[in-house]
Amino acid sequence: MEPILKVRNLKTRLKIGNDIWTVVDNLNFDLFHGKTLALVGESGCGKSMTALSLMRILPNPPALPPEGEVIYQGTNLLALSEKEMRKIRGAKIAMIFQDPMSSLNPVYTIGNQLVEVAELHLDLYGTDALNKAAEVLTNVGITNAKQRLNDYPHQLSGGLKQRVMIAMALMCEPDVLIADEPTTALDVTVQAQVLKLIRELQEKSGMALLLITHDMGVVSEMADDVIVMYTAQGVEKGNADDIFFECAHPYTVGLFQSRPSLQQQRGKLQPIPGQVPTFQHMPSGCRFHPRCPYVMEKCKKEVIPDFIILEQQNHTAKCVLYDGTEESELNLTRLNKVKETL
């Protein structure tokens, strides 16, 4: 199957003062029609930076123009002029942000804000635009949409506001939807509704979804493929089942170990020791090695390539445990023992 969006060697750097920090480091992935790819990781690992780079809405300065290739329908989005990009942004590639309260303009009614999208991208004006706005609101499950158009954001609950955001993003029937932590600000019950809504809309329109989240539960509920990010790099890649049940990278294993379980009450949790390194003090070699329980001498120096775990599933991990040498095999058995306890 041909991917809708191809991302190759995406690299985003920030220039602050005289320092240049790489916040997205050589990321590769494909988005497919009707499929969901999830980017998971802790705060500060570059998930949102990836999304903003794809949309090209990072402020410059401090961000330098993203490098690499983002191929959409044969054209590299990163090479387009701002004017051409504006036609694609919002119309073909849309985005939902984390906090619906701060992403909607508080001084305009939601009708006003929805009509703006219709005017900009769909060439609809007046009553046509209003009708379109009411129609998309109905699509996301808002009742008496016509009256709702006159409401201001503060008159709506959190769940409703997120629905309005989704309506706005889906108005032009985009091919790709980027959802940056779409349910983090919402309660579990509302979260379940919003996730269900996104899934239904995806089935109907067949758009590709790039879901950014830190919640493993949301990932398993939604994703077909998963990329686990750590310090700007994708450390493990694979389909959802592989990541959840055959996770390979020590960091992913650590993430699962530190989650309190809903199934059973356990004794002590096993957090990943240490802290995420800052960009000023990025360790050499594997960036996870100071916190890794399976660290070896060779982890500390070399640049770690992606090792293939399962060829046919595209399951890869950035970890030398999989290089096949004797030393690695020994550590790998230890890792597998831990995995059984998960």
Binding site: E42, G217, S220, G254, S258, L262, Q265, R266
Partner: protein, 267 residues
């Protein structure tokens, strides 16, 4: 069962709604509407519910940070509701709170020593600067930080460390009860696990009791002995943790449990 540390009966908090120039009272919002719970010594009571269901108000009213409209509260056998402001002050050091956002709850212009040590001086637990330093160093050791950080400011720490400092401030007074209001909600999973372990460890070593408020049911299940599920100001289910998770009785509790995304195999 041991003597309850905190016992709350028929607790109510109604906030009035005013209207017009003369602020005529036209109604009330029943934020907490007649709840009963008790926390035995050394136990953890988890409180769950959606945002706006009155979790925080219930906890704050239960220790009279907000004056309750009605109800009786007894703490270590004494009635909190009958106490004067002055008497309350002496009880305050036995009840401490840890909040959701650690950075917002630390004074950015005070060093860690001052942030943790201020209450020690207020409650006259220490008499000199040196003694304060010793006590703060002791606390820092308990929460897993080096005493060298004493003269640094809150912004120099990561979120997880800041939350440790907040917990340190709470335990510095040797309290009996700590109220954790979404204390781990803003932290990443790996840091959250560290803080949960710390809370558990401190509970064992210092014989603390917690009133643990969270919207995250997995966290509640991990830490709590008893769980109270709140819905629109009322407790709809209040039972030992295992029973509640194995066999939820109330319709709302079931909806809440069903709404949590679960890990399952697709193929």
């Amino acid at each position: 069962m041991t003597e309850p540390l905190l016992e709350v009966k028929g607790l109510k908090k109604y906030f009035p709604i005013y209207k017009g120039l003369f602020r005529k009272e036209i109604g009330v919002i029943k934020a907490v509407d007649g709840i009963d719970f008790n926390i035995p010594q050394g136990h953890v009571l988890g409180m769950v519910g959606e945002s706006g269901c009155g979790k925080s108000t219930a906890a704050r009213t239960a220790i009279r940070l907000i004056e309750p409209t009605a109800g009786s509260i007894s703490f270590m056998g004494k009635s909190l509701t009958a106490m004067s402001r002055k008497e309350l002050k002496s009880v305050r050091k036995d009840i401490q709170m840890v909040f959701q956002d650690p950075y917002a709850s630390l004074n950015p212009r005070k060093t860690i020593r001052e942030n943790i040590g201020e209450a020690l001086i207020f409650h006259q637990l220490v008499s000199s600067y040196e003694e304060q330093g010793e006590r703060v160093a002791e606390v820092l050791h308990k929460i897993g930080l080096s005493p060298d950080v004493m003269n640094r400011y809150p912004h120099e720490f990561s979120g997880g460390q800041q939350q440790r400092i907040c917990i340190g401030r709470a335990i510095s007074l040797n309290p009996k009860l700590i109220i954790c209001d979404e204390a781990v909600s803003s932290l990443d999973v790996s840091i959250q696990a560290q803080i949960l372990n710390l809370l558990h460890e401190l509970k064992e070593t210092l014989n603390l009791s917690y009133l643990f408020i969270s919207h995250d049911l997995a966290v509640i299940r991990h830490l709590a002995d008893q769980v109270a599920v709140l819905y629109y100001g009322k407790i709809v289910e209040y039972r030992p943790t295992e029973e509640l998770f194995q066999n939820p009785q109330n319709e709302y509790t079931r909806t809440l449990l069903a709404a949590i995304p679960k890990m399952k195999r697709k193929k």
